[in-house]
């Protein structure tokens, strides 16, 4: 360290720049420095990042990776158990009170009976599902904490957040992890329209944004249902969905169509109307999830009998394709619209560089996007090559996930299990896999730097430091974690700390570690 500083004095500005660039490469574009990582980036900071761009896509979290279909089958089992168990409890306790609904909530005694039964298979399966979700999240944060390709993983997390699916809906929660593995990770350095297609037709998205039950009002399936024929082969598989289908008038659900336009492609002020949303929703009817009868349980299928027949017009373009080709054609066109390039490149610049990025940077990314027809590897190269991306001021305030991951990386460790990270993520406002809306997690400092959040980050830093680094020199850890970004003030405060954990906590809470 000392030797390097002396050398820099001799050779002047260029080397300082290189040191700062190495620190920026690892902390801003990556997920925070592990010990030694900034040194690795020093020789060629841009090359260090570019070498992480990989056509074959992102890394996959370690461990068993069940498919979405397997998880959905588990979930179906859970629903079945729950239904049967409820029915059984009703018959055990006696007939339901006249006029009262036969749920446990209606009868405290029954609720108590349910609670006290430890052999309750519903609870067993429910706990299993929760453990699956927790394991998925733990594997994901372990990958982020340990990877030597931090830029590749940050790039991936951006896309996972862009195509948010959330455990705020139970059935979706069981497949957020598989969604990222199946629909996002393979495509993050491929063409945007491939990523878009994979994300929008994945069972997680189809359940999260209510597509599975959307039925063309003039489709054959709707006609049959109106004639009392029942929803033959329609709906998302699983008896419960079909039961629900029986009780309603079949029709459109425009949720997914709207969010594709508003959040995933052209963006909200790009000139589409309510009529465009409804037309797109009509075109999407038929896209659903297979049931037992299809022999394709839990995978995306197209049901031509639920598809609204006829031509559609979306954003001034007529689509006369039949069947699923219609929605495909609209999705492809949306992916290629200049509004989409502008909207997403603005988001990328805000994610990587600043809440209020320079228009020049956005324009550069847009040019790369348009010139390559949405080739995401090309866009990633442009981001890394843009001079605006290397502004030395750390303008981005870390989200809770980024803060916690970078804390583990600074300590050179990784979380052992979900319990170490799940509760603190929730307390900091970023409950695992549970973004509050399809818009995903916010990315701006204003959202995350509330007074309460700073106090809770401090409490985390305190607890984490006392467990993580009792035998390590915080001054060396600080130099490793921040490199040239470590400020004299922070270095001094750490040097004066009365204990090693206190010094490390000061590092984690320092203004420059809280930002990137």
């Amino acid at each position: 360290m000392t030797a390097r500083r002396d050398k820099r004095k001799e050779t002047g500005v260029a080397l300082v720049d290189q040191d700062m660039k190495a620190a920026i490469a690892v902390t801003r574009f990556g997920l925070g420095a592990r010990p030694g990582e900034i040194d690795q980036a020093r020789r060629d900071p841009q090359g260090f990042l570019k070498s992480q761009i990989r056509r074959s896509g992102a890394d996959q979290p370690a461990g068993p990776s069940p498919t979405s279909a397997q998880r959905m089958a588990e979930f179906r089992e859970y629903q079945r158990e729950r239904r049967e168990f409820r029915l059984q409890k009703v018959s055990d306790v006696g007939p339901p009170k006249p006029g009262g609904p036969a749920t446990e909530a209606a009868d405290p005694a029954m609720a108590a009976a349910v609670k006290s039964d430890t052999r309750d298979p519903v609870k067993v399966v429910g706990a299993m599902l929760r453990k699956d979700i927790s394991d998925d999240f733990a594997a994901r944060i372990q990958l982020a904490s340990a990877t030597d390709a931090g830029f590749r993983e940050r790039w991936t997390l951006f896309w996972a957040n862009h195509f948010t699916v959330s455990a705020t809906k139970a059935i979706t929660g069981t497949i957020v992890g598989p969604f990222e593995e199946e629909a996002i990770r393979p495509h993050v350095f491929g063409r945007f329209d491939d990523l878009l297609g994979a994300a929008e037709t994945h069972p997680a998205m189809l359940t999260y944004l209510d597509q599975i039950q959307s039925i063309g009002p003039d489709s054959d399936a709707a006609r049959a249902m109106r004639n009392g024929g029942g929803p033959r082969g329609v709906g998302g598989g699983g008896a419960q969905l079909q039961q629900a289908a029986l009780k309603r008038t079949p029709g459109l659900n425009e949720n997914l169509a709207r969010e594709i336009m508003e959040l995933h492609t052209v963006g909200v002020n790009s000139g589409y109307t309510q009529a465009d949303v409804t037309e797109f929703a009509r075109a999407m009817t038929g896209i659903s999830i297979g049931g037992e009868r299809d022999g394709a349980y839990g995978v995306a299928v197209f049901r031509v009998q639920a598809h609204e027949p006829g031509e559609r017009t979306v954003m001034g373009v007529r689509y006369d394709q039949r069947g699923k080709e219609q929605a495909n054609a609209i999705l492809t066109d949306l992916a290629e619209k200049p509004q989409t390039a502008h909207f997403i490149c603005g988001k990328l610049a805000r994610h990587f560089v600043a809440d209020d990025p320079s228009p020049a940077l956005v324009a550069r990314l847009e040019a790369a996007w348009t010139g390559s027809r949405g080739d995401l590897a090309t866009v990633a190269e442009a981001l890394v090559s843009a001079p605006e991306s290397w502004d030395p001021r750390p303008a981005k305030f870390k989200t809770p996930y980024e803060f916690i991951v970078s804390s583990y990386r600074a300590a050179g460790g990784l979380p052992a299990d979900f319990q170490q990270v799940g509760p603190i993520m929730t307390a900091l406002g970023q409950k695992p896999f549970s973004a509050p809306s399809p818009k995903g997690w916010p990315e701006d400092a204003q959202s995350w730097a509330a007074p309460d959040a700073i106090v809770k980050r401090m409490q985390f830093a305190q607890a984490f430091s006392s467990g993580a680094v009792h035998d390590r020199d915080p001054k060396a850890l600080a130099a490793d974690a921040l490199g040239e970004r470590l400020s004299p003030d922070t270095a001094k405060a750490i040097a004066r700390a009365e204990s090693r954990p206190e010094g490390f906590a000061l590092l984690l809470m320092s203004p420059e570690f809280q930002r990137r």
Binding site: R248, E254, Q446
Partner: protein, 417 residues
């Protein structure tokens, strides 16, 4: 049916329809004689804004069971029998029992057809307009409640608090505000907070945030002392019917959260302005169960605020609002899609008793907005402005220009307080 809220005689009048066509009907201002409060009184006045995110379905919150079209439009989602009656037309959702009790005491009123000026039916755009108070989307980055605090701070000490781990846009801005969420407190003897305050002395973001956070934690020790009924918690999982197992636990946590908020507001030097968000109202599918859970949670928070404030309830107005309502008709998935007009609730001991706030446009097909949604008759900004004017003493010019920029056409609904 006995009218529980004494209602002004109302009918879908021509005046109402004209007002809708012209923009917004502000029938209440005709009744208004703003009482000028003594300054000493003003210091005790409190206002709480509850934001229900996701597009809360007004036709479920305050089902217009007496509207001839309601049953037909809502089909299986109609709440006619179980709803808690308010007057000849309106009722409350069966889960809103605490709100209903307030209404019976003349301390709750409903505005069944309000909307922001935004018509895009986008959650994010509409929430932006709801919280910034701007005339259009993404035109300012601070919240109207923050600017109200800023305006009032020129005359008296006004502190604001948001509940939750993240700061809602409505309270972001120049005026410094506190935030708090349930947690495990700070050791007053620890060195780290002091060291960090020193390290943050030149940090405009982290310095003030940490100082406020620590001050709020100190206050929290008193504010939340002796609360029973469970640990306060931010939110039970959305999307699951809260009426199921664990629902009671969720309601207890919500009630305690409301009591915690009230506890802060009762502390000497505590906040007089507060905001809290409740997520999960986006009911595209299987709406009945989802909303029952969310509204039970909302009701419990409001009950906690009411009971927790005790004698301060009489100085308080609580506004409950959402970014937009939902389609009048049920969609193909036993839910409803994004709409326009929805219900706002106005609660508090400071309230004047009265009927519905604003005109009811009815659900007749030609009265629906774009043949789809409840047509708004009240500009949400007018409602907020009325409460800020009457209750908090914010002057008209500041309301029209600063708190709600370019809003002189949205006249304050005076006379609610």
């Amino acid at each position: 049916m006995n009218a529980i809220i004494p209602s002004r005689p109302h009918s879908p009048t021509r005046r109402g329809l004209l007002a809708t066509a012209a923009g917004f009907g502000l029938s209440l201002q005709l009744l208004a004689v703003p009482a000028m409060a003594a300054d000493g009184d003003l210091n005790k006045r409190k206002v709480i804004v509850v934001i229900c995110r996701g597009g809360m379905d007004g036709l479920s919150v305050t089902p217009p069971v007496g509207d001839a079209e309601y049953r037909g439009l809502r089909g299986s989602l109609a709440l006619s029998d179980a709803a808690l009656p308010l007057d000849g037309t309106f009722a409350l959702h069966p889960q809103l029992t605490a709100v209903h009790a307030m209404a019976k005491a003349g301390e709750a009123r409903i505005a069944p057809a309000v909307a922001t000026p935004d018509r895009a039916r986008s959650h994010f755009e509409a929430q932006d307009v709801l919280e910034t108070g701007a005339a259009g989307v993404y035109s300012t980055s601070s919240g109207w409640l923050n600017r109200a605090v800023e305006t009032l701070s020129a005359h008296r000490k006004v502190d604001a608090l948001s509940i939750g781990p993240t700061a809602p846009l409505i309270l972001r801005g120049k005026a410094p505000t506190a935030s708090w969420s349930p947690g495990r407190g700070v050791d007053a003897e620890a060195r780290l907070p002091t060291l960090l305050q020193d390290l943050y002395r030149n940090d405009a973001l982290l310095g003030p945030a940490l100082a406020r956070g620590l001050a709020t934690e100190t206050m929290a020790k008193d504010a939340t002392a002796g609360l029973g009924g469970g640990q306060p918690a931010m939110m039970a999982s959305a999307g699951k019917g809260g009426a199921g197992a664990g629902g009671q636990q969720g309601r207890d946590a919500a009630r305690t959260l409301g009591q915690s908020l009230a506890g802060f507001m009762r502390e000497p030097g505590g906040p007089t302005v507060a905001a809290i968000s409740i997520d999960g109202f986006d009911s595209h599918a299987n709406q009945a169960g989802l909303l029952a859970g969310r509204l039970a949670y909302l009701d419990a928070v409001l009950d906690g605020v009411h009971t927790g404030l005790g004698p301060e309830w009489k100085n308080t107005v609580v506004l409950v609002a959402t970014e937009f309502g939902r389609t009048a008709r049920v969609n193909g998935t036993a839910g409803t899609d994004h709409g326009t007009g929805s219900t706002a609730l106005i609660l508090g001991g400071a309230l004047k008793p009265g009927g519905i706030v604003g005109d009811w446009p009815t659900l007749k097909q030609n009265a629906l907005f774009e043949n789809r949604d409840v047509a708004p008759t009240v500009d949400m900004r007018g409602l907020f402005k009325g409460v800020l004017a009457d209750h908090m003493g914010v002057d008209r010019a500041a309301l029209d220009k600063v708190v709600f920029p370019e809003s002189s056409t949205a006249k304050p609904m005076l006379g609610l307080v």
